[in-house]
Symmetry: D2
Subunit: 90 residues, 4 copies
């Protein structure tokens, strides 16, 4: 199912930012920097990944469930989301 170029661009920008944050974390580990700073960098990576997950799921709800062309597609997209969400309720 096609996504808008704008939405795709936003997601790719988030991925690049997250990769930059992971590099900063790796650098701090290699330089044996203060543990608290190292853990803080990793916690910020986790926040960024959760934000990315939120963006993708929101897009899925809006574009593929609510705006589905018919009930059959909406049902399939709804079940896809439920399957993915299960990893969060464990």
């Amino acid at each position: 199912m096609p996504h808008s170029a704008r939405e795709t661009g936003k997601i790719l920008a988030r991925v690049n930012r997250l990769k930059g944050q992971l590099d900063a974390f790796a650098k701090a580990v290699e330089a044996d920097e203060d543990c608290y700073q190292v853990m803080l960098l990793l916690a910020s990576c986790r926040g960024a990944l959760n934000g990315l997950m939120g963006e993708v799921v929101e897009d899925h709800i809006r574009e593929h469930i609510v705006e589905a062309e018919n009930k059959k597609l909406a049902t399939a997209a709804g079940e896809d989301l439920i399957e993915i969400m299960k990893s969060f309720w464990k």
Copy 2:
């Protein structure tokens, strides 16, 4: 929006089970039981609450978004879910 008595019954049964697990945890804290056992009981409460959250969200996706009577109701239910999910991406 009305839910089936069966779905409501399943959710209330989960709430009762969780309250029982919380009582077991509180008892273990009061009896000053082994810390690992105490933390394990609380982790199982957390698992039960996550399972309950999953049940409620799945029901919301299926009954209120996919099966909404019209696009306006589906949109509103989708935005409700997005709002709730935000607390998970933080």
Copy 3:
């Protein structure tokens, strides 16, 4: 390992508050209240349980790892915490 009565009291008060929040959620489900309100009540239960988990883990770190009487007890308490934390990294 004994805990202070004050710490035990704080934890039991949190459990009671959480049980009250679960009752409010169950009541809202039974009354078939607005779905968003129902999900919000459950999200607040989840926040309360996470806060309780945090309280218990903080107490464990302070009292049973940092303040352990000897290295052997500290090691055992540290491994207990690691085991419990694993359910959060999955």
Copy 4:
């Protein structure tokens, strides 16, 4: 506080693997692949980041709290961990 080269190596290997998984996700987004597959790739990134967080926290508990040279350092490392964990209980 210095970490073993072996532990540092393990963490850097995990970072590289995670960056590879993020690239696979970005590629799938760009190719407009099936939404379920895209969300699954991102969920696996989240699993990998949680595993990395677990590795770093376990190392911190073992090396900087349990094995701290004195009580003052253990206390400081314990409070650092508590601070970091707070982002998980929210």
